[in-house]
């Protein structure tokens, strides 16, 4: 008989699980952490390789040579930008038309729910300009997009100029099988969102935009350029997109292959690759790169203009030029050649990129960890929750909960409902009550929103005390066990679903939430445990992540600066949700926080 179908063996197995429950849970937790940290160790990773047959290993000879012309164009663009005090729409339209593209513009406007202090904007109005290079012989069924943002000040002038120079070079070639769209968007992510919504005839974020006059077919891939200096020392690849979505790994492989061919230094997370994986520094370097990727993916915002394309199943990546203090500099012609090579390879595609991985972690540009290797780390943490469900103390509460008249059910239902109502309040009230808050307190709107959110969060901590007194009778033993059972299953389902969509977010939440929730009972020393619970609550997790992130990018901050950053992270999270549909803030407010509140309720059951 099999292990699970033999009743004797099953009894022995369950006996083992119940006897050794706590040690197994501790072992699983440590194993999960160790597994995760071990992912960055090079022998456990795989070398990246081109999976798509159509993009092949054959390189083409790049012949782009107008780097210098691009740089003079950058100065012209800068002058016109200053003159127009925004985006020089007429100049861009004329420049693209003179290069033989079909040029169209799109105007859009959006009122932010509250002013964005980081970028100093509240009522955003802008224009996107895009030119379509029609493939000379192909039908207009597929397209590629190259985009450069029009940013205020001195940034990204060279990106737009290189875009125009590439457009001129590409127009003279006859081997294009897809249309190429050159997009210059204003107000970076908001402009890109407006363009994408107009292109795909959707309206998911409440943006107002004029419909697009010209269209090119289904977009197969997109590249976003950010270049702010005439010479660069390295090119950084940004992959993380909205909600932690990543483009197909083949795009990263393509970039890396061309960087190697042209001898350009390429980095990911701003870090260069090291060859000494067997030393401690080498391992730490890889682990730092991977942790940066995990943190960036977990916060769910789009770290480049490419991030919004991913939602439409368009593989996109951002290429950022970095000018640091290095001896060897790369000029604009080489960057143009790199982009020409990449676009020519993307031109060979017959179908969308799908051969390589969509879920991966990159400890460096040439090594990757696929979902099959990193998911067990989360699995080990999630199994702790399920082991605790099978704990004998909780088992015979099933019989209790089946009786409808038992006081246990009502006592359980109330905390659940109240926690979720608090979550709803945390989600809705900060934005809606900002005017009232501004009237009564001397704060700006952004601060009002953030502080309201924190206030509601803290107020939720006090709730269980009060509801317990309102309800008749004290909580019974069965009561808190049923609540813990429900809450553990709820948390397991939540974390599992989150980890499937955004592994980093799920893993980080699991690391902080699983130990306390698995071991919580009302019989613990309340004060100590309350402090520990608050310190491991979702809000503090965000705070720790902010500090760790700053450490990893080698810009450590003091406590007060960290606190300000934390407040701005919360406001950015709420803004991202309102503007682009990021799901991190609603997830935390509507699901994770109520779940945590339920455990808080258990702690104060008596």
């Amino acid at each position: 008989m099999g292990l699970l179908s033999d009743p004797n063996r099953r009894k022995a197995l369950t006996g083992l699980l119940t006897r050794l429950n706590t040690p197994i849970c501790i072992v699983c937790y440590l194993a999960g952490i160790v597994w995760f940290m071990g992912l960055a160790f090079e022998p456990f990773t795989l070398r990246t390789y081109m999976s798509e047959n159509a993009m092949g290993s054959t390189m083409v000879e790049e012949r782009f040579s107008s780097g210098e012309r691009a740089l003079s164009l950058a100065k012209e663009f800068d002058a016109h930008k200053r003159q127009a005090r925004g985006m020089p729409v007429e100049w861009l339209v004329k420049a693209m038309q003179s290069r033989g593209l079909e040029v169209f513009t799109q105007s859009f406007s959006r009122k932010l729910p509250f002013p964005d202090e980081n970028k100093e904007r509240y009522m955003v109005r802008g224009t996107n300009v895009y030119g379509i290079l029609r493939a000379p012989r192909a039908p207009r069924t597929e397209a590629l997009v190259i985009t450069a943002p029009c940013s205020p000040g001195n940034t990204n002038n060279q990106a737009v100029a290189l875009l125009l120079a590439l457009a001129q070079y590409f127009r003279n070639q006859i081997y294009w099988a897809k249309d190429i769209i050159f997009l210059v968007n204003e107000h970076d992510l908001i402009g890109t969102q407006a363009w994408l919504e107009g292109y795909h005839h959707t309206n998911i974020t409440g943006m107002e935009y004029s419909p697009l006059q010209g269209r090119a077919g289904s977009i197969q891939a997109a590249l976003s350029l950010e270049l702010s200096s005439d010479v660069i020392t390295s090119l950084d690849l940004v992959l993380e997109g909205l909600n932690g979505q990543l483009p197909n790994l083949d795009l990263a492989n393509l970039f890396y292959a061309f960087c190697q061919k042209l001898g350009v230094l390429c980095t990911i997370q701003g870090k260069l690759q090291r060859n000494d994986w067997d030393t401690a520094e080498g391992y730490t370097h890889a682990a730092q790169t991977m942790m940066l990727m995990v943190l960036k993916q977990a916060c769910g915002r789009s770290w480049g203009d490419h991030g919004l394309f991913l939602r439409y199943h368009i593989e996109a990546a951002s290429v950022r030029g970095i000018n640091s203090f290095r001896h060897y500099k790369t000029d604009a012609t080489t960057i143009g050649r790199l982009l020409e090579g990449m676009v020519r390879k993307l031109n060979n595609l017959l179908e969308r990129l799908h051969q390589s991985y969509f879920f991966y972690l990159l400890p460096s540009l040439s090594r990757f960890v696929s979902i099959g290797y990193y998911m067990p780390a989360f699995g080990l943490l999630a199994v702790i929750l399920l082991l605790r469900v099978s704990f004998p103390g909780l088992c015979h509460c099933f019989s209790v909960s089946l009786q409808p008249s038992s006081p246990g059910v009502l006592t359980v239902l109330t905390p659940v409902v109240i926690s979720h109502l608090t979550g709803v309040a945390l989600y809705l009230l900060p934005v809606h009550l900002q005017e009232m808050a501004v009237e009564h307190f001397p704060v700006s709107e952004t601060e009002a929103v953030v502080l309201t959110a924190i206030a509601i969060y803290t107020a939720g901590l006090a709730l269980p005390h009060n509801t317990q007194r309102l309800l008749s009778g004290e909580g019974t033993e069965q009561g808190w066990k049923v609540l813990k059972l429900t809450a553990l299953l709820y948390l397991a389902v939540l974390l599992g679903c989150t980890a499937l969509i955004n592994f980093s977010l799920g893993f980080i939440l699991a690391v902080t939430l699983v130990p306390i929730t698995a071991s919580i009972t009302p019989h613990m020393p309340k004060a100590l445990y309350a402090v520990v619970m608050v310190l491991l609550s979702p809000a503090f997790t965000i705070l720790y992540c902010v500090f760790i992130y700053q450490e990893l990018i080698e810009a450590p901050v003091s406590v007060s600066e960290g606190w300000m950053l934390f407040l701005s992270v919360i406001s950015q999270g709420i803004l991202d949700h309102a503007l682009y549909g990021s799901l991190v803030y609603p997830l935390l407010a509507l699901f994770i926080y109520p779940c945590w509140l339920m455990f808080w309720n258990i702690l104060f059951w008596n």
Partner: protein
Amino acid sequence: MNYCNLITIFAFINLLVSIPHGYSNYVETKAGQFFSSGHTNNWAVLVCTSRFWFNYRHVANTLSVYRSVKRLGIPDSHIVLMLADDMACNYRNPKPATVFSHKNMELNVYGDDVEVDYRGYEVTVENFLRVLTGRLPPSTPRSKRLLSDDRSNILIYLTGHGGNGFLKFQDSEEISNMELADAFEQMWQKRRYNELLFIIDTCQGASMYERFYSPNLMALASSQVGEDSLSHQPDLGIGVHLMDKYTFYLLEFLEEVHPASQANMNDLFKVCPQSQCVSTPGHRTDLFQRDPGSVLITDFFGSVRKVEITKDTINLTSPVEPPIKRSGSSDIQIESLTYVDQLPVAEIIHQQDCLEANVTRCRRKQQRTRKLNCQVVEKQTA
């Protein structure tokens, strides 16, 4: 002294006498060789089974064999060319209307007079087998048929992506080695070939000829089972690999062959050794009845008409003996039987010889014979 002189003179006279005798022997051997291979016409079936831009090299492979075969004399009417995709007019081709086989665009194998019989999605396993076995619907045009007979030597060349025991057609179906062997057996039973040369340039190509069991088949493959056939050189202007190694060296070998060359199959087996090709080419000759050393390349790759101009008379023993005249009955005239003229030229040329009175009858008879002649002529070239 005189004795020595006598011997020398005797030897010299002997030599003089034997030279014409030897020459006529030589001529007789050559004459004997005229009919040694047993074939009277040549056909070629050239198939490229892969589509998509990155499989440019398979189309270039097939077109380069097509070019050699045409150069050595097989006309388009005797070549069935199947190309699964159009590389010359692909949007990604920076040099439209060309397919190059050598880098730096040295040799354009597409040319001006390529005649593709099966193109694009028509290249399927079913169509390929129907071409081989001749089971085509009656509406199929002649250019798409393999109209071979029992005196045809057929060259079959396949290229594409293959594996152990199969060849992939167009990314959606496969032909197995057993199907191919059965198709060749059908051809043998229907007497559709005299001898057949099968060349395949794919990965693990040798697995495709393992299962042949019909006689008079010779097979060559570019790699053994478990080996990959590699591509030769990329062209940086076009951005793809242009040819496969085996066919590249095969093309180089065939460029040296001309219609009168005496290169034989043993030279073909030596094309592309492992040092050049990385994979080990293989061949199979056990089903072939002649010795490969005596089989000329042009027996399969060219359409060499057995014509040699000579100014001497050759005495051939007459196969037809006149009937023996019996002593008794001299009135019974046994006329010797001869074959009817295939094309009664005499009647057509000398139509003026008809008498005035029999003009109409004569003309009618000529019309009838002319109609009959047309049908006879058609049957001949079929």
